[in-house]
Symmetry: C2
Subunit: 515 residues, 2 copies
Amino acid sequence: MIPLQLQPKSHIPLYVQLRDQLRSLVYSGDLRPGDRIPASRELAVQLGVHRTTVANAYADLESEGLIRGFVGRGTYISDLPLKRQFTPPPRSNGSSGLRWEALFADDRGDENLGRLMPDIPEGEIAFVTAKPSEEFFPVEDFRRCCNAVLKAEGRRILQLGSSDGYPPLKQALTDLLNGEGMALKPGQLLITDGCQQALDLLCKAFLRPGDSVVLENPTYPGAIAIFTGARVRCLGVPVETHAGRAGSAGMNLEALESVLMQNRVKLIVVTPDFQNPTGTTMPVNERRKLLEIASRFQVAVVEDHIYARLRFREKEVPSLKSLDRTGIVIHIDSFSKVAFPGMRVGWVVGPETVIERLRLVKQATDLHTDQLAQATFAEFLRRGYFEKHLAKMKKVYGARLNAIEKTLERLMPAGTEWTKPDGGMSVWVTLPAGLDAGEMLHQLMDRGVHYVPGRYFYLQNPEPNTLRLGFAGVDEKRIVRGIATLGEFLRLQISKRERGMRRMEEPAAARVALV
Amino acid sequence: MIPLQLQPKSHIPLYVQLRDQLRSLVYSGDLRPGDRIPASRELAVQLGVHRTTVANAYADLESEGLIRGFVGRGTYISDLPLKRQFTPPPRSNGSSGLRWEALFADDRGDENLGRLMPDIPEGEIAFVTAKPSEEFFPVEDFRRCCNAVLKAEGRRILQLGSSDGYPPLKQALTDLLNGEGMALKPGQLLITDGCQQALDLLCKAFLRPGDSVVLENPTYPGAIAIFTGARVRCLGVPVETHAGRAGSAGMNLEALESVLMQNRVKLIVVTPDFQNPTGTTMPVNERRKLLEIASRFQVAVVEDHIYARLRFREKEVPSLKSLDRTGIVIHIDSFSKVAFPGMRVGWVVGPETVIERLRLVKQATDLHTDQLAQATFAEFLRRGYFEKHLAKMKKVYGARLNAIEKTLERLMPAGTEWTKPDGGMSVWVTLPAGLDAGEMLHQLMDRGVHYVPGRYFYLQNPEPNTLRLGFAGVDEKRIVRGIATLGEFLRLQISKRERGMRRMEEPAAARVALV
C-alpha cells in the first residue's frame, strides 16, 4: 500500500492533497520510475474518496510529467519525472545545519504558487500566457518618457517616496479615470506593483487565517495562491461560460447567494470583463444584481478591471465601480495587459477608508512602488502614448481573436464548445466529454502546441475536458497552425475512442507493482 | 471614568493598547479638546498597570499632538489634536453601505504601520530619516545606464520576467558579492523590492500566526510592522549600546540564549553593522557566538546587511554570512542606503532551499521586481558607477559623522551619552535620566529641530530618555546648528529641574475633568 493520508476537513482540496503526497513519495524515492500505481478507481475505494479526486490528482501529475498513463495498461511513475517542466525542491544538503523545510510555514498553498507562469520553450505555439505581445511595445516612446522625467525630476524620482504613489502618476491616472467617467476624489487612489500586489494588500488588510473569500471558479491561479497562502478559505462560485444564452455569462449569482447564505464572507473577488480564464463578461443587469446581493449581505466586492480596456467589439459594459451607489466596490487595475508588464505598476480605487488602510499595509510591505516606473508611466499617459498604444493593440488583438474564432469554427470537431469573448486575451474551450486536456497536453507539446489545461484554474470540481487558449501572444498564421494541430489531434482521439481501440497489452517492462 | 479595557494577554504592548484606546476616544468625541485626563500615576492605579505603561502611552499621544501635559497642572486633550502630524482615519461617510472598519482584519499592528516615514516639514533640521542624501545622486550616470539598457534590451526589460530576478542583475550582483568574498552559487540569490519586502517575504515563507521571531530591542519599526501585522510574536532582545566596552555592542547574547531557552523561535533578525536605530556594530567574536547559539537552538538567522557598506573608518567586520559554516544565515541587502531608494531593489542570499521557497512566495506576492530598475542597476554596477558613488558617499557621510560626534562632545550637557558608530546613518542618544525625548519633541520642533524619540523603535521596555539622530541627510553646518539647539534646550530643562521650578498653578480655563 502507498502510505497516503488525506484530511477531509482541510481547506486544501482532496485531489491537491493526494497529488502532493504522491509527488513527495516520488521525490523521497518511495515511488520510483517504472513503479505502477493503482488505477484511479481502485485507489479511490482504498481511500474512500470519489474517483474524480484520484483522477484529478493523476491528471496533474501526468501534466507535470511525473506519471504516465497507458490506456488499458495502468499508470506508472515516469522515467523522466524531473526533466520537463518541474524542478524538484532541492534537498537540504549535508553542509546545512538546519532542516529548512521544517522551519517553513506549512500549508502555504504551494500547490498554487508554481502555477502562475509555466515555462514554455521559445519558438513553439504557446497559447499559454495572458501577457501582451512585446513585438509591438513602443520602446522608443517609453525611452523618451523615461529620459524626460529623469531630466526634469530625477532626484525626486530616485529618492524615497510616498506609500500611496508618486503624485504625478496619481494625477495622470486621475485624469485618465475621470475622463472615463469615474469621478475620482483625491484619497481614493493607491498605486501598487500591479494587480497581483493589489490582491495581496487587500488580503493583508481584510483577511485573517480562517476568514472566507468568494472567488470565481475557475479563476486566476495567482488569486488562489495569495488567499490560500494566507490560509484564507476560498469559496468558488461557478462561472457560466455559455455566453450564447443572454444574461447568463459570468459568476452564477444564484450560486453566489447560496454561498453567502451559508458562509460569513468578507470579500467577493470578481473579474466582470473578459474573465481569466474563461473570457466571459457579465452583462449589466447581472452586475447590478451582484451589487444588490453584496450590499444585502454586507460583503465588499473587489472588481478586477485588468482586461476591461481590451475590448475589440461591441459596446462597453459599465464597470461595477461606476454602478456602485453604496460604496462597496474596490476596483483594481493595471497597465500590464496593455503594455510593459515588466514595469510593475497598477492601482486600486476605493473608499478613502480602504485606501488609507491599504496605504499603511503597502508601507509595511515594500514602502512604495518603484518611482521611475511610476514617473515614466505618468509621462506616457500625459503625452497620449498610452491611448495611442491601446488603440493599436486593440486592432492587433482583435484580429487575433477573429482568427482564433474562425479557425475554431472551421477546425474543431463536433461537440467542442468555446466562449465567444469580445475582448481580453483568452478563449475557454470545452472538449467533448471524456477527453482530458491535461492528459493530452504532453502529446500536443510534442507537436509544438502549448495551452493551459483548465484544471489549473479551478478551486474545486475541475472539469478535465477544459482548456484555456491565450490568443493575444500568437500571430494569425500561428493561430491557424496551432488550432489545426489541436483539431487534428482531437479528431484522432475521438475516432480512436469510437473505434474501440482502447485496449492494449500490459507492458513487458512493468516493474513490480507497489500495491 | 474613561472607558478603557486593556488585555494583558495580548501580544500588543499594554501601553500601545492604552494609547490607541485613548486616541479612539478622542476621535469618537468621547474625549474633547480641553478635557483633563487623569495623571499617569492615578490612571495606572485604576487600571492596575505599571505607571510607566501609562506614561509611555501619554508620551506617544503627546508627540502626536493629541494631548498636552502641563507640569503640575495635569494633562489635557489638546486644542488642535488633528492638525500636526496625525491624520485621523476618515470616518465612514453616509454614502457608504459598508462599515469598512468592521471588515478589516483586526490587530494588524497598525500602531506600528504609521511609524516608518514620519512627515517632516521641508527646510528644517531633520535628524529624522535614514535615507541617502539626494543632492549627491549621480542622476546623469543613472540616466545614461537607463538609456543604454532600454536601447539594448528594451523589449525584454518591459515584458514579464522571472520571479527570482532579472538575469543580468543577478549576474552583476553575483560579481559584486563574489568580489567581496561571498562565493555565491547560482540559485542562492533572489531579487526583491528592497529589504522591507525581503522581510515580508521571509515572514510569509517561514511564519504563521502565533510563531515567534527574535528582534533586536530597539529595532527598525518596519520590521515590527511586518511581523506584528502577520500576528507573529516579536520577542525583543536588548541591544547593548555601550560601544566603549569592548565586545559588548549589539544584541545581548546572554539575553538571546535565555529567550531561546524559553521560547520556540523560528527566526532571529539582526543587523550586525550600524544597527538601526542604535548605530552599534557586533564585534566578530560576538558574531561567532551568535551563530553558535543559533546553530545549537536550530534557529535561522536573518542578517540585515543594509548599512554595512557605509563604513567610514576602522576595519570591516566579517558578515554573519561569511562566518556561517552550517548554512543557517539568510542575508538581506539593498542599494537604497547608498543610492536611489526610489528604485525599490534589494536582494536575499541564502541556501537554495530557502531561495526556491522565497521565489514562489515572491511570485504570489507581486510576480517580480520592476525590471527597468533591475536592468539599470545592473548597468550601474557593470560600469563601476556604484563603487564610485559609494566611495564618494562614504566621504560625505563620514564627514557628517565626524561633525555630529565633535558637536555632541562639545555641546551636550553632562550625563548625556551617545553611541560611537564607525558608519551607518544614525547615532543613538541617551539623555540624563528623567528627561523624556518624546515630551521634548514638540518644543524642539518649534525650534526647527526634528529627531525620532527612542520609543518608536522599542518592542518593549521603551526608554523615554533615548532618541535617534540620523546624521546622513544633514550637512555639517546644519548639524552644528541642530545639535547646538538641542544642547541649549537640554541645559535649560536640566537647570529648570534643578531650580525646582516644576510647580505651577492650575489653569483657570480647565474644563470639567472626565474623572
